[in-house]
Symmetry: C3
Subunit: 137 residues, 3 copies
């Protein structure tokens, strides 16, 4: 099974802070029977990617709440003129890439895992890239 071209998934966020479940969109890039790795990459510096609970939406609520408490929007020492340094730090804390094994055409996620696009300075039009690399023969 060959690898595939670099693919792009648009993500339109509607809130300032938001976790958008993109698992189905990522899974949709994988050909039947594919074995290898799926790499998802966020091209933005005030957003990120994470893998977390896909079932209870209260977990998403709590993640965003606690991130806001950890990294408040304002800090009197911030210099960046756009005023969104908190979003930049949250991006670095959750990270901008995830790598998921693929087996027989399916993401090898745990039962409760979903892939989330993390918006920290929305709403905006965003996009993530997906690259598949096939297992050798």
């Amino acid at each position: 099974m060959a690898s595939t071209d670099l693919q792009s998934i648009p993500v339109a966020t509607s809130q300032h802070d938001q976790l958008v479940n993109i698992t189905d969109e990522v899974a949709g890039t994988i050909p039947p029977g594919f074995n290898g790795m799926c790499f998802v990459f966020c091209q933005h510096t005030t957003a990120g990617l994470t893998i977390n609970e896909n079932a209870d939406p209260d977990v998403v609520h709590d993640l965003l709440l606690e991130l806001k408490r950890l990294v408040p929007w304002r800090n009197p020492g911030f210099l960046h003129g756009e005023g969104n340094s908190a979003a930049h730090l949250k991006s670095s804390l959750v990270g901008t890439d995830v790598a998921i094994p693929v087996e027989h055409g399916r993401l090898a996620l745990g039962t409760w895992q979903g892939i989330y696009f993390c918006e920290f300075d929305g709403p905006r039009q965003r996009r993530v890239l997906v690259r598949l690399l096939a297992n050798g023969k």
Copy 2:
């Protein structure tokens, strides 16, 4: 050298918060002479993976201590009924995957680096997946 099948490593944790050094188990999945990348993936949403100091166990103690201070177990705003939202956030902060170069069959870790499974809501039976992708010829 071909790549290998997806492999699974069981991790039994014994404490609520614990870092388990799984470097030897990950290294054990790598065939002699293999060149490429080793991808380790945690299938759980209240646990994670990180790479940190392998020598002084006091570093592990201090990492867990400071993570608990940063993300206390209780926050009056948490909604998730299981009450383990702090563990979910720690999972997203350290991340659920690591990618390590492999050269001549050996993980290209630094002298002081070990791979740790991070338990944030144990004790539990956990597992991580390992996928190797070979360098092209």
Copy 3:
């Protein structure tokens, strides 16, 4: 296009806490026309790697400022004799590896993204490894 050998990039840091933009050095390891993934790996336990704003240096200032507020250098409960546990935790929070898609020989970074080596206990002589894996045919 075949993959290439594991490459090493030296990074000499000059401050205790510093973000060093290594995007050009990483890009320099990529052969013309290469398609696949670029994996960057930090071999140190008191440093890390992150992808963030490449334009306004005030963002870098703010990131380091807020990380210092989040994880102060001293905590009376720290046991590690070297006294740099805060640097170890920052390493685990930002992570020690990044994975970036490569298309037609170029890193598929967003317009405002740069790759940063994150020094949290410098100044020191550091190095990062770069592994390229090619897309299948």
